[in-house]
C-alpha cells in the first residue's frame, strides 16, 4: 500500500517538473493553456488574442484561456509572462514595442529583459491611428496641429500607456510638427474610448484595429494612419507619409511568446498549432471584421524582428526619457 502510494506520487510529481524531456512534449498539452494578455479585456490586443485562442484550441487539442493582466502599459502582464513556469502552459502576447520600451526605461526596474521571452509566432501588425470624436472640431491633422500650436499643452491627447507605441507616436508628432500636447495615459483601448467619447480628452493616439467600426459608423473620425501606406480597413483616412510627416511612423505588433526556458520541442508544438490557426481562412475573415491586419512571422524572421524593434525602440525611448 505504502509502496503503491509512493510510486503514484513519484509518477505524478515527475510529470509536473519543468525540466525538458521528450516525454513531456509527447504529452503536451495535457491540460488547459493560459494565454496572458497584458492589456484589459476589450482592447484590440485582447480581441486578436481571443480570436487566435479560439482557433488554435482545435489544433492544440486543449482549452486556451485568455487571461487579462492589464496595467502599467503592459508591464504587469509581461512580468507575469516572464515569471511564469516555462512548461508551455503559460504563454503570453508580446506587444512590440511596448515590451522593448519597458525594458529600456530604467525607472521601471523591469523584472525581465530581452532574453526573458521566446518569441514564437507573430499574429498582427496594427498601424497607429490618430482619431477624434465624430463631432470634433478637428477635421484633419492640420486642424489638430494648428490648435495645438495655438494653445501649447492644452489639447489633451491620450495613449494606451506610458511609453506605448501610442505615446511614442505623440512624441514623434510633437517633434515633427513642433507642437505640444497634454498627454494623458490610459491603460487600455476601452478607457481611451470612454475618454474620447465622453469628451474628457480631445484626441486619441491609438491603433487601427480597435476603432475601425466606430469610424465606419461615424461615431469617431480618423485623422491619419501613422504608416507609410493607407490601411486597407480605412481607405479614406490618409497616412502620415502622404501628409508629409515622414518621421511619424508607428505600429504595434502582437504575437505569442513563452517564458525563457520553455523546452524547444514544446515551442515547436505551439508554433505549429498557432501558425496553422493564423494562416486559416477563418482567421483572416474574423480578423478583417476586427480591423486587424495579419502579419504571420515565425522562427528566425520573428526573432530578427524582435531584435530590430529593440534597437529601434532604444532610440525613441531615450528620446522620450530625455523629454521627461
Amino acid at each position: 500500500m505504502i509502496l503503491r502510494r509512493r510510486t503514484l506520487l513519484a509518477a505524478s510529481a515527475a510529470t509536473a517538473t519543468t525540466i525538458a524531456s521528450p516525454a513531456i512534449a509527447q504529452n503536451y498539452p495535457r491540460r488547459p493553456v493560459q494565454l496572458i494578455v497584458a492589456f484589459a479585456a476589450g482592447g484590440s490586443t485582447d480581441v486578436g488574442a481571443r480570436i487566435l485562442a479560439a482557433a488554435a484550441e482545435k489544433d492544440l487539442g486543449q482549452t486556451i484561456t485568455v487571461v487579462n493582466k492589464g496595467g502599467a502599459g503592459g508591464q504587469i502582464g509581461f512580468t507575469e509572462i516572464a515569471r511564469a513556469r516555462p512548461d508551455g502552459y503559460t504563454l503570453g502576447f508580446l506587444n512590440l514595442p511596448a515590451v522593448n520600451t519597458i525594458i529600456l526605461d530604467p525607472e521601471r526596474k523591469a523584472a525581465f529583459n530581452v532574453d526573458s521571452f521566446i518569441p514564437i509566432v507573430n499574429q498582427v501588425l496594427d498601424p497607429g491611428l490618430i482619431w477624434v470624436k465624430g463631432d470634433s472640431p478637428y477635421k484633419s491633422v492640420a486642424d489638430l496641429i494648428d490648435a495645438a500650436k495655438k494653445e501649447p499643452g492644452k489639447i489633451r491627447a491620450c495613449t494606451t500607456g506610458i511609453l506605448s507605441d501610442d505615446h511614442l507616436a505623440i512624441l514623434m508628432m510633437q517633434e515633427a510638427a513642433k507642437c505640444e500636447f497634454r498627454i494623458v495615459h490610459f491603460d487600455s483601448g476601452t478607457q481611451q474610448l470612454a475618454g474620447v467619447m465622453g469628451g474628457h480628452v480631445d484626441v486619441a493616439f491609438d491603433n487601427v484595429g480597435s476603432i475601425v467600426k466606430r469610424i465606419e459608423s461615424g461615431e469617431a473620425r480618423g485623422l491619419a494612419v501613422t504608416d507609410v501606406v493607407r490601411s486597407k480597413f480605412l481607405p479614406n483616412v490618409p497616412c502620415t507619409k502622404e501628409l508629409g510627416y515622414t518621421t511619424v511612423i508607428s505600429s504595434s505588433t502582437r504575437g505569442v511568446g513563452a517564458p525563457k526556458g520553455t523546452p524547444a520541442d514544446i515551442v515547436k508544438v505551439i508554433e505549429t498549432a498557432f501558425l496553422k490557426a493564423i494562416n486559416s481562412a477563418d482567421m483572416k475573415q474574423k480578423m478583417d471584421v476586427a480591423g486587424l491586419a495579419l502579419k504571420p512571422m515565425v522562427g528566425a524572421e520573428y526573432a530578427k524582428y524582435y531584435a530590430d524593434t529593440q534597437a529601434q525602440a532604444k532610440k525613441y525611448t531615450e528620446w522620450a526619457l530625455k523629454m521627461r
Binding site: L9, A10, S12, A13, A16, I162, I183, H185, M323, R324
Partner: protein, 154 residues
C-alpha cells in the same frame, strides 16, 4: 481592550510612518504629472494623522469595566485549539513545497482533528485520506487546479 487598541493603533502608526518614508524614496511628481510616490505619500500622511488622532481619543476614553474583561490574545482552554490551527497551517505551508499537497494535507487533517478533540481513529483516518488524496484528485483532475507536487518525489 483599551491597552490592546492603543498598541494596535501604535503599530498602525508605525506602519504609516514606514510607508511615508518608503513613499518619499519614490518620485512624487515628474514632468508628466503625479509620480509613483504621490498617492502612497498622501495616504501614509493621512493615515499617520488619523492614527495619532485615534491614539489620542482612545487614551482619553473612560475605561469601560466590561471592556477590561475582554482578553485580546487567545486564552483559556481554547488557546490550545487556536495555537493548533496556526502552527499546523504554518507547518503545512512550509512542508507542502517539499512533500507535496497530498502528504502535507494528510498529516494536517489528522493532526488538526485530533488537536480539536476527535478521538475515533477510523473516522480520523477516513477523513484525513479523503481530505488529502481525495480532494487532490477532484481538484487536479476535474477542476484543473494545480496543487504542489513536492520536489522530493522528482
Amino acid at each position: 481592550m483599551r491597552q490592546g487598541r492603543l498598541i494596535a493603533t501604535g503599530v498602525m502608526l508605525a506602519f504609516c510612518l514606514f510607508a511615508l518614508w518608503q513613499a518619499l524614496l519614490l518620485s512624487l511628481t515628474d514632468r508628466l504629472g503625479p509620480g509613483p510616490g504621490f498617492f502612497p505619500f498622501w495616504l501614509a500622511l493621512i493615515g499617520a494623522v488619523l492614527a495619532v488622532a485615534l491614539l489620542f481619543t482612545t487614551f482619553r476614553e473612560p475605561v469601560d469595566p466590561a471592556d477590561a474583561e475582554v482578553r485580546i490574545l487567545p486564552h483559556g482552554p481554547g488557546a490550545k485549539r487556536w495555537l493548533a490551527i496556526v502552527v499546523l497551517l504554518a507547518a503545512t505551508a512550509a512542508a507542502m513545497e517539499i512533500v507535496g499537497f497530498r502528504l502535507a494535507m494528510l498529516v494536517f487533517n489528522a493532526a488538526l482533528v485530533i488537536a480539536l478533540g476527535e478521538r475515533r481513529w477510523w473516522l480520523i483516518a477516513v477523513f484525513a485520506v479523503l481530505g488529502s488524496f481525495g480532494v487532490h484528485y477532484i481538484f487536479t483532475t476535474w477542476l484543473d487546479v494545480l496543487l504542489p507536487a513536492g520536489w522530493i518525489w522528482s
